[in-house]
Each structure stands twice: as structure tokens, then as C-alpha cells.
């Protein structure tokens, strides 16, 4: 069975609305991306330098990340040479396969969070300004609540105007407690309080919000490290996940964000937000390729249930549905 057939079968087995929603969110991405690949293939008679140059552009337009694109193109060129491919249509299969390979990283990784069967699980959210940390925390709290877990939120953004209130509104919406101190107080102190509160209330999950910070602000990154240390000290093996939130509209800078936040807080996963827009979020490909950080969730809107677990196959399927179907017909 061909690679794509396998992929498709696996997807169709996951019948629920999740797949649909995921696909919906990605249609815009998919249409333009695979549309352009098809277009490219149709226009070229020969696989030559110009062909590759344009392919490069298609990938770059998806914000895949420059170095990843270059590597990919190199590999493709080699493959084309090895298999002695002359016809652009044949390259198509190789292109998709390579991309899937990068997404999957060889192993069958799941996007499951590291949730403790017993005792408190602490999740720490980090990221630059305005990417969707607080909103994602609201959505995730809702998801856990529905699963019957007891959730507590920590209002660790004491800096931005209205940040505490924003989290409180989410707390009310979802029906979970929010631990806070006044605006301007020390975020590490808030975390300390929150951990104690979560413990004494027998919470299953504590989700910690932090202020948005640009990764080149050394002092703010130090502050974040301190926040993490407090959590580490108060709960063994915590935080169980450090989730970096990335905005899908972000370009190459997302790679630097991932690298720097990883160095500072040992990021364990990514949440890719705002995928309901027209941006493609292709930079996650580069991030996985270069830093090995997996995407765990994607944000598909501003509402409580607009959060989906990331499924690499679905994501790729969403991007390449046209290509997949085409291969089947052949």
C-alpha cells in the first residue's frame, strides 16, 4: 500500500468531527499550497533549476523556514538525480513524502500531555506578546474540566494591563478557580501561592499563565526562569509540561523564539494558535526539524472549544489532501 493510502486510511478511521474541523481550519492553507504545487507541476516540462527555485518559493510562502526549505530542496535534488526523474509530476510524490517525514520525525509521537495519574500536574505557558497564551489556557482548562478534572489557574501575568482580569473572565467562563495577586506583584510569588492553593484544594491540574515577553529581553527571560524554579522547588518533577505558544502568522522569528525559550525553560511542546486565519504556520516544520520540539495543540479560533490536539498526520493531510487524492486516482 502506498504511503498516502495508508495515511488516508488512518485518517478516515478517525471519524469524528475533529477531523472535519481540523480540515476546515486548514482548507485555506491547503488550497493555496497544494494548488500551487499542482500549478507548478503543470507548468514545467522539465525538472530544472528554475523549477526548484519556484518550489523553494512555494515552501517559503508557507513560512516553512529558510534553512529547512534549503535542506529539503537539496534532498529533493538528490532524489531526483538518483531516480533519474525528468517529469515534474513525479517529483510531486517525493515532495509530499519528504514533508511528512519531517513532521513525523520518524517516530510515532503523540501530542498527549504528560499528565500525572496521581497528584498535581503543573503546566507552564510561555511565549512572546499577544500570541494567545491566556486564551489557550482558558481553552485547555475547559477541556480538562469537561474530562472531570479539577483545575486551578495561576495569574502569573502581573504586568500587562487587564491580564489578571482576562484570566479571571476565563476562569468564570470555564468554572475554575484563579489564584492571583495584585497587578505589579512578583510573578514568582504568585506561582508559589498558586502551587500551595492547588495542593490544598487537591487540584489535578495547575495551569500557569505568564506575561508575554520577547525572547531578546534578558531580564524578562531570567524572570521566567525564576518562575519555573519556584514551581520545580514546590512540586517534584514539575512543571510537567512547558508549553510555548506560537502565533501561526509569525515568520522566521518563531524559530528564534523556540530556540531561546527552549534554552531558558526547556520547552516540551508547542501550541500553534490562530490557524483559523490564512497563515500557514509552516515554521513548526522548521522547529521540529531543527529543535525537535513537537506541536501539541493548535488554536482554531477564540472560543472555548477552538482547541484541537495536534495530529501530524491530520495536519499534513490537511495540507496535502489534493495531492493525496490525486495519487489515488493514478
Amino acid at each position: 500500500m502506498s504511503f498516502f493510502k495508508k495515511l488516508k486510511e488512518k485518517i478516515t478511521k478517525q471519524t469524528d468531527a475533529v477531523t472535519e474541523k481540523f480540515k476546515d481550519g486548514l482548507t485555506k492553507t491547503r488550497d493555496s499550497f497544494s494548488g500551487r504545487v499542482n500549478d507548478l507541476v503543470a507548468r514545467y516540462r522539465k525538472v530544472d533549476e528554475d523549477f526548484f527555485e519556484e518550489l523553494e518559493e512555494i515552501l517559503i510562502q508557507a513560512d516553512v523556514g529558510f534553512e529547512t526549505v534549503m535542506e529539503l530542496i537539496e534532498e529533493l535534488k538528490m532524489e531526483v538525480k538518483r531516480q533519474n526523474i525528468q517529469d515534474p509530476a513525479e517529483v510531486q510524490g517525493v515532495i509530499s513524502e519528504k514533508l511528512v517525514e519531517i513532521y513525523q520525525g520518524g517516530e510515532d509521537e503523540t501530542s498527549r500531555l504528560n499528565i500525572q495519574a496521581e497528584g498535581l500536574t503543573v503546566l507552564l505557558f510561555v511565549g512572546v506578546n499577544g500570541v494567545g497564551k491566556t486564551t489557550t489556557i482558558g481553552k485547555l482548562a475547559h477541556k480538562f474540566k469537561v474530562e472531570g478534572k479539577k483545575v486551578v489557574l495561576a495569574a502569573g501575568d502581573t504586568f500587562r494591563a487587564g491580564a489578571i482580569e482576562q484570566l479571571e473572565v476565563w476562569g468564570e467562563r470555564v468554572g475554575v478557580d484563579v489564584i492571583k495577586q495584585g497587578a505589579g506583584s512578583d510573578p514568582a510569588a504568585v506561582m508559589f501561592d498558586a502551587v500551595q492553593a492547588a495542593k490544598s484544594r487537591n487540584a489535578d491540574i495547575l495551569i500557569c499563565d505568564t506575561a508575554g515577553r520577547l525572547q531578546n529581553k534578558v531580564n524578562l527571560m531570567k524572570e521566567l526562569e525564576k518562575v519555573k524554579r519556584v514551581i520545580e522547588r514546590e512540586v517534584p518533577n514539575a512543571p510537567h509540561e512547558v508549553l510555548l505558544v506560537l502565533d501561526a502568522t509569525t515568520g522566521q522569528n518563531a524559530l528564534i523564539q523556540a530556540k531561546t525559550f527552549k534554552e531558558a525553560t526547556n520547552v516540551s511542546g508547542i501550541v500553534l494558535t490562530k490557524l483559523d486565519g490564512t497563515a500557514k504556520g509552516g515554521i513548526v516544520l522548521a522547529i521540529r526539524n531543527e529543535l525537535g520540539i513537537p506541536v501539541k495543540f493548535v488554536g482554531l479560533g477564540e472560543k472555548m472549544d477552538d482547541l484541537q490536539e495536534f495530529d501530524a498526520e491530520q495536519y499534513v493531510y490537511g495540507l496535502f489532501a489534493d495531492l493525496v487524492e490525486k495519487e489515488e486516482i493514478e
Binding site: A161, Q166, A183, V218, Q252, K274, T278
Partner: protein, 455 residues
């Protein structure tokens, strides 16, 4: 991962040409490929890049570069000129209505920085133009959006108009303008909710507000880190609303900010302001030339110097500028400036603006602490006059002596010397691309600064 600036990219081509002593059209083509890559890496939209490169190629092949003895510099010059032109002039003027109040609408994607920028603009209008703006909370969707603007209003001690989140934004805008007239506010700044350009319902709402409020300015607020999608967003907002200006936020980060070029070229609307921080005074005029340098990875020398001037006395700043430019910078100068630099504010921010600084490994982890500064000071103070001017004479024996004299260790002395050399090399880069022997390629890390021994 290290993003190279254009100057670095052109190095290897230059080397080849130097060997041949003549520039061919093929060489120009190769250089253009590097230009293209540099721009793509900076997030300039690929279509915009294509057009741009075509234009520059024409100029280049049109003999300007072919004839030049310094083709690399010539290419950079042409590229920078074209880039600067494309980004338009400096237009940080804000409209004034002859029938007050002047109405300004802030629009954009979610999280771009509209609310913050609304506060910053109000601050600017008061400080620079002596105006009395009314802030309007017309985001009824995002949790605590109203509270956010009210908090900013409080920080600024300025009134914020709100009707809660149960009244339509159109109605809020209407009543706010009436209220502004009544209270004699000369400006009305409407903060709207973030929305996707493809969200028809919400874009319709903005059109309605526009009809009713008849704004003098509609500012699109865009995150400077935006990638290829910037063209779609900007074009779409412009088509649907007719923008009058753009504000580029979060430029205090380390993004190249190629979105600026993309946006400018698809909307043909001036970028008026840039956001340089979260605080309410972190709004500045847009300078096309500086932006061009930044996109090309040539550092923002002007802003660096300006910052220095703000905090250091002017004469010394000029001196520093000159020394940096000519790279005639001794350890003594370094020592003297150490104190000055300490007063200039966050050192990491300053360093980021220096050419090549984006490649400095470890800059992200850099931390300036008093004790470590003292170490560096002690090391330099333990050197002889001669050693400070010609550090290359410092032999192993001398190093031992210096370490002993300063109460530090030989490795610490070595590190300082090594990094001082590297820094001088980097400073040379600022003057152009004269420096030789640097190989192109994925050289991770690159330079280190003498500031690094603080680590």
C-alpha cells in the same frame, strides 16, 4: 539558524570576483540570488522579493555594479537605496480634522497590539501635540478588553469611554463621538477588537463603524514578526477599509521585520509609527532607512547612537560613534565606556542593534552583573599602558601577571582578550565589508563581545 545579513552573504561572491578582477553578468546574477535569500530570510514576501530583485538587477546590470571596483558595496548601496525608496518617506504626521474631534480607528489581527498602541498614541498626542484625546473601548469580545484599556487610561490619567460589552461597537463609537464633542476632546481613538481579515461578519462591523464615525485615520496595527501572510492581511484590510497608515509593533524584538516592506508594497500606505516596547512611551516615528538596514541585517547603528546620546553626554557619544566606526578602540576606551554603557540602560538591547550582533552567540544569555563588571575592570586596570593599546603583545607570562594582579584567572584574561579582538573585528564590519578571510557558510556563533566574560 544564524541569520546572515546581506553583507555576509555577499562575501563569498566577492572573494571569487576579487580573484578574477572583473565582474561578469553571471556574478551579478549570483549576487542577486544572495539578495533574494537575505530578503526572504527577513520575511519579506516572496512576490515582493521577486519584483524587488528584478528592479535591482536592472540597475546592477545597467553598469552601476559591473563597472564598479567595489561591486559588493555597490550592490549593497543599490539594494539599500531601492529598499529605502520603496518604504516611502517619513510620514509620522497624524491627521487633524478641521471639525474636531479628529477620529482615529485602530484595526488589525488579534494580538497585534491595537489596545497598547491606542494608549501610546494618546500619550503621544498629549505630549507632543498638546491634545486631549478620548479613548474608546469598542472591543466587546475579548475577555477584559475594556478593562485593559481602562487600566491604560488610568496609567495615563486620561478618560476612557465605554458602554460595557453588551452594546454594539457601532453604537459605542457613535456615542463616544457625541461625548467627545460635548467634553471638547479634540481626538477620539477607537480601539476595536482583533479580527481576521477573512471574517466577513466582523469586517462588516468595521465598515459600519467607518461609515458612521467617518474617521480621519484608520491605522492598521501589525506585528513586526509577521511572516509571509502579511501581504494578505494588509491587502485585505486595505481593500475593505481604505487604510491611512500602518503601525508596526514589537520592533523591540530581534525580528528583521521584512513585513514592513511587504505591507508597504501591497498597500502603498505609509508606515507611520513603530512600537518599541510594552510601555506607553515606546512609540516612535518610522524611519525608512533604518528599517532598510535592519531588514538587510546591517544593524541599526543610528538608533544605537541615538540611544547613546540620550543617556551619555553628547560629546562622548560622538567619540564613541567615531571609535566604533574606525574600530580604533583600545582596552582603555573600553574601560572608560564600561561605566558609561552601564548607564545607558539594558545593554542587551543596545547590543542587539549593532551590526552582526544577531550572530553573537550567547548574547541571549548575557547578564550584566556588577561583580563581573568589576572583574573586567580589574583585569584591564592590571595591564600596562602599552598592553592596553596593543593587546597583541600580551604573552603568556604577562597574562599570568595580569590575572594575579587583578585577582582573576588566566582563562578569564584570555577570554577577555579573545573577545575584545572579536569585537574589534565586528566593529570593522560596520564600516563596510572590507574585512578579509571570513568564510561564508553556516558558521554558528560568530563573534563574541568583550561583554561576554560577564557570563
Amino acid at each position: 539558524m544564524a541569520f546572515e545579513g546581506l553583507a555576509d552573504r555577499l562575501q563569498s561572491t566577492m572573494q571569487k570576483i576579487r580573484g578574477k578582477g572583473k565582474v561578469s553578468e553571471a556574478d551579478v546574477k549570483e549576487m542577486m540570488r544572495e539578495v533574494r535569500l537575505a530578503l526572504l530570510e527577513a520575511d519579506v514576501n516572496f512576490k515582493v522579493v521577486k519584483e524587488f530583485v528584478k528592479k535591482v538587477s536592472e540597475r546592477a546590470v545597467g553598469q552601476e555594479v559591473l563597472k564598479s571596483l567595489t561591486p559588493g558595496q555597490q550592490v549593497i548601496k543599490v539594494v539599500k537605496e531601492e529598499l529605502t525608496n520603496l518604504m516611502g518617506g517619513e510620514e509620522s504626521k497624524i491627521a487633524v480634522s478641521n471639525r474636531p474631534p479628529t477620529v482615529i480607528m485602530m484595526v488589525g489581527l488579534q494580538g497585534a497590539g491595537k489596545t497598547t498602541t491606542t494608549g501610546k498614541l494618546a500619550n503621544l498626542l498629549r505630549k507632543k501635540y498638546n491634545r486631549t484625546p478620548l479613548l474608546v473601548a469598542a472591543d466587546i469580545y475579548r475577555p477584559a478588553a475594556i478593562k485593559q484599556l481602562e487600566t491604560l487610561g488610568k496609567q495615563l490619567d486620561m478618560p476612557v469611554f465605554s458602554l460595557g460589552d453588551q452594546v454594539s461597537p457601532v453604537e459605542i463609537a457613535k456615542q463616544a463621538i457625541a461625548k467627545a464633542k460635548e467634553d471638547h476632546h479634540d481626538y477620539v481613538l477607537i480601539d476595536t477588537a482583533g479580527r481576521l481579515h477573512v471574517d466577513e461578519a466582523l469586517m462588516g462591523e468595521l465598515k459600519e463603524i467607518k461609515e458612521l464615525a467617518n474617521p480621519n485615520e484608520i491605522f492598521l496595527v501589525v506585528d513586526a514578526m509577521t511572516g509571509q501572510d502579511a501581504v494578505n492581511v494588509a491587502a485585505s484590510f486595505n481593500e475593505q477599509l481604505g487604510l491611512t497608515g500602518v503601525v508596526l509593533t514589537k520592533l523591540d524584538g530581534d525580528t528583521r521585520g521584512g513585513a514592513a516592506l511587504s505591507i508597504r508594497s501591497v498597500t502603498n500606505t505609509p508606515i507611520k509609527f513603530i512600537g518599541l516596547g510594552e510601555k506607553l512611551d515606546a512609540l516612535e516615528s518610522f524611519h525608512p532607512e533604518r528599517m532598510a538596514s535592519r531588514i538587510l541585517g546591517m544593524g541599526d547603528v543610528l538608533t544605537l547612537i541615538e540611544k547613546a546620546q540620550e543617556n551619555v553626554d553628547e560629546e562622548k557619544a560622538r567619540e564613541m560613534e567615531k571609535k566604533m566606526r574606525t574600530a580604533s578602540f583600545t582596552l582603555d576606551d573600553f574601560l572608560e565606556q564600561l561605566g558609561q554603557v552601564r548607564n545607558m540602560g539594558p545593554l542587551d538591547e543596545l547590543l542587539k542593534m549593532m551590526p552582526g550582533a544577531n550572530k553573537i552567540k550567547g548574547l541571549n544569555n548575557m547578564q550584566i552583573d556588577e561583580k563581573q563588571i568589576t572583574h573586567v575592570e580589574a583585569i584591564i586596570q592590571s595591564m600596562t599602558k602599552e598592553e592596553k593599546i596593543h593587546p597583541e603583545i600580551i604573552t603568556a607570562g604577562r597574562r599570568k601577571r595580569i590575572a594575579k594582579g587583578s585577582g582573576t584567572s588566566v582563562p578569564e584574561v584570555n577570554r577577555l582578550l579573545k573577545q575584545f579582538e572579536d569585537m574589534k573585528k565586528m566593529m570593522k564590519q560596520m564600516t563596510g565589508m572590507q574585512q578579509k578571510g571570513k568564510k561564508k557558510g553556516k558558521k554558528k556563533g560568530g563573534f563574541n563581545l568583550p561583554f561576554n566574560p560577564f557570563q
